[in-house]
């Protein structure tokens, strides 16, 4: 369960990135966060991922109030969240397999388990056999699939995707979207930020519509009226 209650985020330059955002997303739900550039989509995802702190309001992620004073288990929370970015954020000097394995190694999985899980997830994203290839040799769509594999390899219960199709052509975007749909079918909660209205219209999921940091979609049905 994801909850944001009257969340405000103002940057030191007094720019209001989010204003009075409240929402509730249930386990296994797929939700779009939509809006033009600068509308606060990324800030909202970063707050859920604990890489930004809200100026005020309460945020609960997977049962943990991440806004409570003294919360310092960010790394443990992040192990239950997979994050996918528009620019992939892959290690360019590593292979496909090493990039995916990295997420398991840093959390202390034994090498045999790492190997098993990496091959399993690469098969799932359609990159089995490419594990020894450098990520530099991959197309943008393939890179995004590696990033999704890395985000998924820990079996997170929540996936936060920040415009993951923003750098892809339509065909690649569709392939990547199929992976997110598969995740949703498996019961993973997916919060998908995008400014692609065509993509949103193609899928019957609720939309959190942001404009200049404010929600403008009360009829979307997933907001809480606090």
């Amino acid at each position: 369960m994801i909850q944001m209650i009257h969340v405000h985020k103002t940057y030191p330059s007094q720019i209001a990135a989010l204003t009075d955002i409240s929402l509730e997303i249930f386990p296994g739900q797929f939700a779009f966060v939509a809006g033009p550039s600068g509308s606060g989509k990324t800030t909202l995802l970063h707050i859920l991922f604990c890489s930004e702190r809200p100026t005020s309001g309460q945020v609960i992620v997977n049962g943990t109030d991440i806004t409570q004073k003294g919360f310092n288990k960010v790394h443990q929370l992040r192990r239950t969240i997979g994050m996918v970015f528009q620019d992939f954020k892959l290690l360019r000097d590593r292979t496909v397999g090493e990039n995916v394995a990295f997420a398991l190694e840093v959390t202390g999985y034994p090498p045999a388990e790492v190997q098993r899980r990496v091959l399993e997830i690469l098969k799932w994203v359609g990159l089995l056999g490419r594990e020894r290839d450098s990520v530099l040799t991959l197309s943008a769509g393939e890179k995004q699939r590696v990033a999704i594999a890395r985000a998924m390899v820990n079996n997170p219960s929540l996936i936060l995707a920040d415009e993951p199709t923003g750098n892809l052509d339509d065909q690649m975007a569709n392939d990547v979207m199929k992976l997110f749909m598969a995740l949703h079918r498996q019961g993973t909660t997916v919060i998908f930020a995008t400014q692609n209205s065509d993509l949103i219209q193609r899928y019957p999921f609720p939309v959190i519509q942001l404009v200049r940091g404010k929600r403008v979609d009360e009829e979307a049905g997933i907001g809480i009226k606090a």
């Binding site: 790394h75 192990r79 994050m83 954020k89 290690l91 990295f102 202390g108 820990n154």
Partner: protein
């Protein structure tokens, strides 16, 4: 689940190999700093050991008035033997003194021809207990000896001992002041080089944070890196110092070598060596701690 120590160690070594140049620079600077510090330690240690040997040999020579009656000497010896700090007293008559000088001069004893033993004063060789063989305590014994009316003059080489003691103190002080500055510089340099190394791995650290690596998992390899740099730098410095000492002793002029035969030239004792190595590691750790805390604070 926690990553194994082996994994963390492998990562630290791999990181060092990937950033070879900054690592070599840091180790080089540490080596030079520790070398200067330990060279001062070595000189001070040898001078202090020389001073100890010298102090061990120190004895007080008390010259008696020539007209001291023979009957008083035995009583005087007894009184001195009972004084605090005195280990033994030996009476040297004028004829003993001439015999001693002849023995010392060997083939050149004819230089003493015509000198009658009566010109020499009788004397007492006062050997002090070990704990009384420093300049302050000798002074105490000497002032007690001066109270005896039979005493003409007392000698014990005080000026030399004092001068030498001051020299050792100055060296020790220089070692710690200069050493302290060098060590501060070392922490600063390690911290900056490691910060460069950490910055060059900004992307990797960011991804580690994204996938849920704990702060200690990210920081520990950097601490290890700093400690390895400190240990290697200190180890190299001590090796160079050892070689340097050997080379200097080898190339000493032979006249100086003859003089040094009686003085043992020592290398630093094992506990100092271990202390310097551990000190290098601790400074390496401090440098990397400062660097990683600064970096991770800004990147979390």
């Amino acid at each position: 689940m926690k990553p194994s120590l082996q994994y963390v160690l492998v990562r630290a070594i791999r990181n060092m190999r990937r950033n070879l140049f900054p690592n070599i620079t840091t180790v080089g600077v540490i080596t030079i700093s520790v070398l200067i510090f330990s060279a001062f330690s070595l000189i001070a240690y040898n001078l202090a050991s020389f001073l100890r040997i010298w102090e061990d040999k120190i004895e007080v020579i008390a010259y008696l008035k020539k007209k001291t009656p023979a009957g008083e000497i035995e009583t005087l010896l007894d009184k001195i033997r009972q004084m605090e700090g005195v280990e033994s007293v030996n009476y040297v008559s004028p004829s003993d003194a001439i015999a001693f000088m002849e023995a010392k001069l060997g083939d050149q004893k004819n230089l003493l021809e015509g000198i009658h033993s009566a010109v020499l004063p009788p004397s007492l060789e006062v050997q002090l207990k070990k704990e009384y063989r420093d300049s302050t305590k000798i002074g105490g014994v000497v002032s007690q000896l001066k109270q005896f009316p039979q005493m003409e003059e007392i000698q014990y080489g005080q000026e030399w001992v004092d001068l030498f003691s001051s020299l050792v103190h100055i060296l020790r002080l220089t070692q710690w002041v200069l050493g302290g500055l060098l060590l501060l510089a070392m922490v600063f340099i390690i911290s900056n080089t490691l910060q460069l190394a950490i910055s060059s791995r900004r992307e990797e650290i960011e991804i580690m944070q994204l996938v849920g690596a704990s702060p200690s998992f990210i920081q520990v390899p950097f601490y290890l890196e700093g400690m390895i740099q400190g240990l290697v730098g200190a180890g190299l410095a001590l090796s160079f110092l050892f070689l340097l000492q050997k080379i200097v002793l080898f190339y000493l002029p032979s006249s100086m070598k003859d003089w040094l035969v009686k003085i043992p030239i020592l290398f630093l004792p094992i506990n100092t060596l271990v202390g310097i190595l551990l000190g290098g590691m601790i400074l390496g750790f401090l440098g990397s701690y400062m660097a990683s805390v600064r970096f991770l604070k800004s990147s979390q």
